[in-house]
Subunit: 354 residues, 2 copies
């Protein structure tokens, strides 16, 4: 392959190639400046044998003088592999994804791969666009926190060799590696903990019902209530976007009226933070258990009892499976569920008031 074709991307999905190089120095420029042939420059750039030390030095001087850099994308084309991994998050600003991202990056780095991040903002179309954009950039693999529930669009990519692991939420309508926290069991245990402390009127505030973790945590809540023989009233459950205004309204509604809830189970860290604020201004104590740990939860009065996930373990497990797919030692897709951990700090142990 000569350097002209080397400077073009041929995307695997048959999209139009495009010259992406502007006015950067090419191998041809280096060859001209060093007074050698293109093949010689290619040998030096790729560390191949067959170049005398003197010629090698001349080529290197030309490379330095021109600021030439090898086009990794062209190498991708030749070798069929980049060293890069894409991570598709839901929200770059959600603190839950910080340790998860860092764990994926650390595993990627240990394998010599670059991590490329992006976020879907909980929009399935945006997720698909981002995933396909990353595939078009020839990532070796993808760790995906999915926003959507139909991932058949990934089938051609997976067939073309892109390793794929879903994390935090399962893939939809395709057979894929999945690493999850035990949302159902964690929520069930957290709600059972409130019941064990005497609560019967327990509210549940969660994320949008189409999100797998939100649905599973609601199912855990309902199961714990059913196991205790407590009929659940509709007004005790609120699922929706987790912005502070919505959560605040939901909490205040459950806490108002003649028969308010005496405890709240918060379906994720964003919900917990808002509920903590609402309860801080409330006229009587209300018990609270939150899914996901939050920073400084132990220093609040009362401390916030939580069902903690290990976000770093999720990321690490997913990334390690990804590289096992890439090195061919992992063939069969599996679903791995990591346990959660109840951390009692006071708010979940308050007795029912009123």
């Amino acid at each position: 392959m000569d350097d002209r074709t080397g400077q073009r991307i041929v995307p695997q999905t048959g999209r139009r190639p495009e010259n992406r190089y502007g006015n950067r120095p090419t191998m041809k420029d280096v060859a001209a400046r060093a007074g050698v042939g293109l093949k010689t420059v290619s040998r030096v750039v790729n560390g191949e044998p067959g170049v005398t030390p003197d010629t090698g030095r001349r080529v290197q001087e030309a490379i330095d003088a021109l600021g030439f850099r090898r086009n990794d994308s062209a190498r991708v084309l030749r070798k069929g592999r980049t060293a890069s991994v894409g991570l598709v998050l839901e929200d770059l600003a959600d603190p839950f994804y910080g340790p998860l991202s860092r764990a994926v990056e650390e595993v990627a780095r240990a394998h010599g791969a670059l991590l490329i991040n992006g976020s879907s903002a909980e929009d399935p179309d945006r997720e698909q666009e981002l995933v396909l954009a990353l595939c078009a950039r020839r990532v070796d693999g993808l760790v995906i926190i999915p926003a959507g529930d139909d991932h058949r669009y990934l089938e051609p990519e997976i067939k073309a060799g892109v390793a794929t692991v879903f994390v935090d939420r399962p893939a939809g309508r395709i057979d894929a590696d999945v690493v999850l926290s035990d949302s159902f069991g964690g929520a069930r245990d957290g709600v059972a903990h409130l019941i064990a402390h005497g609560h019967r009127r327990i509210g549940f505030i969660g994320d949008m019902p189409r999100i797998h973790t939100a649905a599973e945590r609601l199912r855990g809540y309902r199961t714990a209530m059913e196991d205790a023989g407590i009929p659940v009233e509709d007004s005790w459950m609120s699922l929706g976007v987790t912005d502070p205004e919505r959560v605040r309204c939901a909490a205040e509604e459950m806490l108002a009226g003649p028969a308010p809830v005496t405890a709240i189970f918060a379906g994720n860290n964003r919900v917990t933070v808002t509920v903590v604020r609402v309860l801080a201004g409330h006229h009587r104590p209300v018990a609270l258990v939150g899914f996901d740990d939050i920073e400084l939860a132990d220093l609040l009065k009362p401390g916030v009892t939580v069902v903690a996930q290990d976000a770093a373990a999720l990321g690490r497990t997913a990334a390690e499976r990804l590289f096992r797919q890439l090195d061919g030692t992992l063939i069969t897709p599996e679903r791995i569920v990591l346990p959660t951990r109840l951390i009692t700090r006071g708010s979940g142990e308050l007795p029912p008031a009123g």
Copy 2:
């Protein structure tokens, strides 16, 4: 596509994006309204010379009145550019970078560009490796939170047309666009606030001294002390890595002995969180002001007084400058300093004890 919603990625390899702006005003419309030729409008838009101030103003008024925006995508196609921006962070898991990343991503998305993230883990070599890897992947531009202090390695990339904006910390040894928070002024004001509440023995715990923000905040501390005529003892200042063990030791040392500090200024959010924990277990009240806001700071007892930065504004400002570089309307590198804001919540207003 409607660029206001920013809901779609303009793909970098295939689909033709030239109709992205639909029936938006064109340069022709601007020329007609301003009563000038097309070339004049082009000169103004591209910041080229040869336009009188008066004409420039007339064109700018027409641009503003019509809401004209240059069609970046057409330019992408013409110049063979990809639409992607790299963001090099210090630590993916630091909550300060969450809103910053999201703001950069939102601006990138509004310009039809994909955001590629990576982190340097505060290692200058890793920063350089990551930056050059992103350049080799042909990003259009880079927003960099630098770990190193010598960025001459970027000069060939900048010459080759890669737009570059440094954020949170300045570039080293190159002339570049920089967007910073007022670390010096913020720290000076925060320490002056403690002095105004009667403290003289004030400790400063900050990040590693080679980090620009850490050095600037220390300078702010020293200036406030000097302005108040208070000689600073060496044992009151501790700079180093911000892991909890180091910070805990530093705080405990300052709080021990016959003449302990009565107040601490914490140099960033990681330091503040650890100092809050140390003070929660301390036998007498110690005043605290932290640089950076922290979640739930208002609900702690006492609430944590902070010097808040606007992380989202840093990211947004940096990304907007990046795209102004790319569309040719920003030529001269500048240093932009965003103000900080003192938020009083109780911990910084405690009187000296002991």
